[in-house]
Amino acid sequence: MTNIRGLFKELKYEIFKNILVVTFLRSVIAFFIFYMFASLFDLWYVFSFLFAAAYFSVRLYKQMKRIRIKVFEEHNPEIKEMLSTAADNQDKENIVLTELFKEVIEKVRKLSSGTLIVPKEILIMIILIPILAVASFEISYFRIDALSQDKIIDGLQQIKIFDGLLGEKIDGDIIDDGLLDEDIFGEKKIAQLGDQEINIKMNLGFETDLTRPKDEDTDQIQFKDYPESDDVELIYDTSVSRENIEEDAKLARAYNEKIRNLK
């Protein structure tokens, strides 16, 4: 009696192992599929783990209800009736039942738990996983901006219920006058600032007061003492300090004299 009960416990454990393996493989596939989607639209990769974990939990929970001897019977029809009879009568005892239990134990021991696995299904999943892994890697280079996170947030900001939840909205527009050189300044777009006051932190060494008139002395210092040369030209740059200009001017003069001496 205890032997047959022990056998049924073992069978249920085998069924559980099979369910665990299949559910895990399916979760891995689900992870890669979601990861492809996430990387395509620049979503955080952790979402893929969460999705796969949720899928694993839900599927495992549903499959746990299927842990019954009938699952083993379905995969082994040759001993189905014998097994179901033994399972339904495991609490009874008589001569015939004792013999039946012995026979069931003998036959079940000869069967492998591999009979529970559908080879085709497992093979397909094992082949699919590396394919999906490679595909995920390849797809991760691409981005679809239409649905990037910023765009999602912008879109959500249009909806009133999200007011104040997704950060401050900045008024403004993007214009393109086509006047600027793309190579130096990047994209041919200038952001037109709106009415709002904005704080810009800049390099302190920068002369930012655009209303101050040009310093004619500074200009004269630059070019007054050094004759114009065809060889070297000094280009005035507002970011350079007066000391630097003098130093550079000295260097330019020395170089020009060398060239004249060579001639």
């Binding site: 009736e81 009879t85 033994a86 009874k92 001569i95 015939v96 039942l97 004792t98 039946l100």
Partner: protein
Amino acid sequence: MVEIRNLDRVKDVFDKISDELSQVIVGQQEVVGQVLVAILCNGNALLESLPGLAKTTMIKSISQVLDLQFQRIQSTPDLMPSDVIGTYLIEEDKGKKKFVFQKGPIFSNIVLVDEINRATPKTQSALLEAMQEKQVSVGGNTFKLDEPFFVLATQNPIDQEGTYPMPEAQTDRFLLKILVDYPQANEELEIVEKFTSEKDVPTPKVMLSKNSLLMLQKLTRQIPISNDMKKRAVELVLKTRNRKDIIEYGASPRASIALIMTAKARALIEGRKFVSKEDIDYMAFPVLRHRIILNFEAERKGMTTDDAIKELLK
């Protein structure tokens, strides 16, 4: 008590019984099998057969193989109950007269009642009472019948004039209704060869003792059955009551009991320690064919009860 180590030999025993019977009876293996099932279930069987199909030879051979006493009763319209169960006779002993009960032919292990539909209803009831109770009551005294006790009653499907057909309430008491058909051509050749040659037909040897048979009857009840098979048997009987399109009157719960018991017996004969779907489906025919009444529409179409059972098994 049948030892555990002998349980696997049960199939061998029944195979040997079949082989021994085949020395006398040609073909009819299904009929023999069903008779053995009825004996194992401690029930009685109704045999529907045309004359000359070796019914008496078969049942006599079975009684010889099983080491059981055999009696034959030929039913006629003037057969009285006392002719079947027995009666008190006055005997004189040392000048004193006393009543002594003279046992009737029913006091045997296997009783063949030929053409039971020819006996009067009163005689039929006496017989059925003995079948049911395994005892007879005569003159206020009760006499128990010997165990095992098995009645094989026969009916002739033709020649119904002057007969008293048994009502369904009485046929329901028979565990099985077995149909016997004509033999095949090759079987008939063998029959002719066996029974017209100069060699005597051998007497079957005893293969199973009376006590072993009683043990096997107890063992039959111990054969386990799964819940699915029990449901299948019960659902089949329920269908006989629900299919009003073909069946006027369905079978009673007695049919459910009979179906499961006979399925167990068949499993034991086949050497299995569990009841299979095949057992239920096979025994459905002899168990149900005499317990259902077809409606007019089905009869008009020429449907038989076996056809109706086939329809239910689909």
